[in-house]
Symmetry: C2
Subunit: 415 residues, 2 copies
């Protein structure tokens, strides 16, 4: 039995135990893990320091080092995350449908945990805690594979989490970490479908693509958001500007940030001349088509690739369109199906946009930045799905469950 098969087997055993625990037992385990993270804070910080020093030596960018770095505040964030998730409703305590069929069988659809969940992620060590908390709360065992640059941090966090579990009814093997950081092992992990029920990659487009190409485990594709704001000719300009600034400036590095502005020709000159100052002053590079170049002297010509790119940076690609149909066609062409928004006061156009756009989250007169499990009221999220199978958009606890049909009879046979 290989290293990974052993992990898988242990996870499967732990999942079987977890699936039968009471909500209170899982919550006790989450709170014990919170205490343990706090108790072992020093060990975690020391390990993180090693990762940071290695990272500097290996020439990681400032942005990557920032994601990797743990502070007292970030550790406090992990602790409160665990407590918050302990306070949420157990998503498996539900029979969401029940009926009697023509054969007088009582059929119930009962929510159950998925089983074993695999998470493949990059440099943020807080994912180690957040993902574990959500998976365990929903009754799942989890196998984590973090980035190799965070390996020491992740091992220290895992040690704390497992020590927390030691005194609870949740087996320590409910959370396991792949400590061999090679790509070879990551690839093998993606094909461990005999043991793992669901694989969730969390990271950039490169990671997602690698998982998509190699995995035999059913995956939930998360994350890539090439989001558009369409300012329709009947838009409230002030509202449009506020939402544009919010989408582009508030946190440009996240998947629900704006990457593109689409605008009707009838209002393009006026709106662009008035409304791009905020972005330009904040250092946002403006790329656009010929019309944009005409109205905005600072703009550079946008290529097809610019329109297709999730910048996650201080850049925006702008397209001037002749009408609603052209706007929809442009968005559909470049959308990654994450979050798309229209600003308009025209009721019918708003309804059409909601119908026409094929994306996880479609907005009228609000910022795409709201695409988030916490904001939606799910109490937390494991990512934002850009696929259509299983769960789409922000993934809360329910997305970490499946169901089974329970059929009760008194001797019925099929005629």
């Amino acid at each position: 039995m290989t290293y990974l098969e052993t992990l898988g087997m242990e996870a499967k055993k732990a999942a079987a135990v977890l699936s039968l625990l009471k909500a209170s037992e899982k919550n006790t385990a989450l709170l014990a893990m919170a205490d343990a993270v706090l108790a072992f804070q020093d060990d975690i910080m020391v390990a993180n320091q090693i990762d940071l020093e290695n990272g500097k030596e290996n020439g990681l960018t400032e942005a990557l080092l920032d994601r990797l770095a743990l502070t007292e505040k970030r550790i406090q964030g992990m602790v409160s995350g665990l407590k918050q998730i302990a306070s949420l409703e157990d998503p498996t305590l539900k029979t969401d449908r029940q009926w009697i069929n023509n054969n007088q069988l009582r059929i119930s659809r009962r929510r159950v945990p998925l089983g074993v969940i695999g998470i493949i992620y990059e440099s943020r060590p807080n994912v180690t805690v957040d993902a574990t908390a959500l998976c365990l709360k929903a009754g799942n065992a989890v196998i984590l594979r973090g980035g190799k640059e965070a390996l020491n941090s992740n091992q220290a966090i895992l040690a704390a989490l497992q020590k927390g579990l030691a005194t609870t009814n949740v087996p320590q093997t409910a959370v396991q970490l792949i400590t061999d950081p090679t790509r070879e092992l990551a690839s093998q992990f993606m094909r461990l479908n005999q043991y793992v029920d669901c694989l969730i990659p969390r990271g950039g487009a490169g990671l997602i693509q690698a998982v998509l190409n190699q995995a035999t485990i059913p995956i939930i594709e998360t994350g890539v958001g090439n989001c558009h704001l369409y300012v329709h000719e009947a838009a409230d300009f002030k509202m449009a500007r506020r939402i544009l600034d919010n989408g582009k400036l508030q946190r440009p590095s996240v998947c629900n940030a704006l990457e593109n502005l689409v605008i009707d020709r009838a209002i393009a000159k006026e709106f662009l001349e008035e409304s791009l100052q905020g972005l330009i002053e904040a250092g946002v590079a403006i790329m656009g088509d010929e019309s944009v170049l005409e109205f905005v002297p600072q703009a550079e010509l946008a290529t097809d690739l610019d329109y297709a790119t999730e910048f996650l940076d201080n850049k925006i690609a702008i397209k001037v369109v002749d009408n609603y149909a052209e706007a929809i066609a442009h968005i559909e062409k470049y959308s990654t199906g994450h979050s798309e928004a229209i600003i308009t006061q025209d009721y019918s156009i708003a309804q059409n946009f909601l119908n026409d756009i094929d994306a996880a989250c479609v907005y009228v007169n609000a910022s795409t930045r709201f695409s988030d499990g916490e904001v939606f009221g799910f109490g937390g999220e494991i990512g934002i799905s850009t696929q259509k199978l299983h769960a789409r958009g922000p993934l809360g606890l329910e997305a970490l469950t499946s169901y089974k049909y329970v059929i009760e009879g008194d001797g019925q046979i099929r005629e």
Copy 2:
């Protein structure tokens, strides 16, 4: 652009049209296809005759030839299937959740079609019609890849379906067939995730495994059912025998048929001596462990492989266990997560079984043969899912939909 990319692109365009059609427009199209299948019945029969002759020349088994053969009655079955599906409720006409979040955003979860669905199947030409009907009803375009031995039949059926669509608002490209029957093209098809939202393989274990290994399109794994009947010591013997006979004899070639009997040692001798006569007389081969051999002279020793095999044939593998825990362990070891049943009059044991067994359908005192979308009341089914993501168990129209979040605001930005 390759042949498959062209099909994919056309399907995507058709799906965009379909997603905006009214239920009545889709129903009109389904009825028009029903009329067309009837009108072109002769062409379909001629084409089928060619497939059958080729099949005989190529040495197909009788069972395969039977699956391949179309009769007037089978064509009538396709026609009534189309009409039946036209009469079902449109699964996309639903907003299944709606709430106001803390930011006063109105968030609605609206059911939408999946988009483009790929179906890979084997020799039954009726799948061409049934799968198309279900996909279109749920607003999806479909790309079909049937077995090469049924190619002429499938092409004739496709021609009829497309002629039916010609006078309706559903584009003819809403249903397309891959006419190049090579494996190479099937492999490429499985990786067409840019155009296809969901892939459903329908067929034997070999096909499912091939799809699992190669696909980049999210798949719904269907079908393999190594189903168990556990006769508990507190079982009603008469009921147990009736359900055993039903599960093994009524239609052994289908995935919800029984393959295994698990029985408590305390009642094994009495039950086996009394109850296997029906199976033995019907020509069912009995395989079992040492204890079974003792009680049933006709039995042969079962290997590990026998317990793991979905026979789909006149064979049953029997295991005598010391107690409930051993029964559960045996079932969990060999279960494919399809349908598992217990026969018992012990209330607590029944409840434990429903909790402990991890399968799509878990039965107490009823035949596993009921695992079926039609029987469950879904009006039809596209298969039975043995995975936990998206949809599990019998897949009705709802399993062919996804959802999108529609968010309506009046200028909200994220603080």
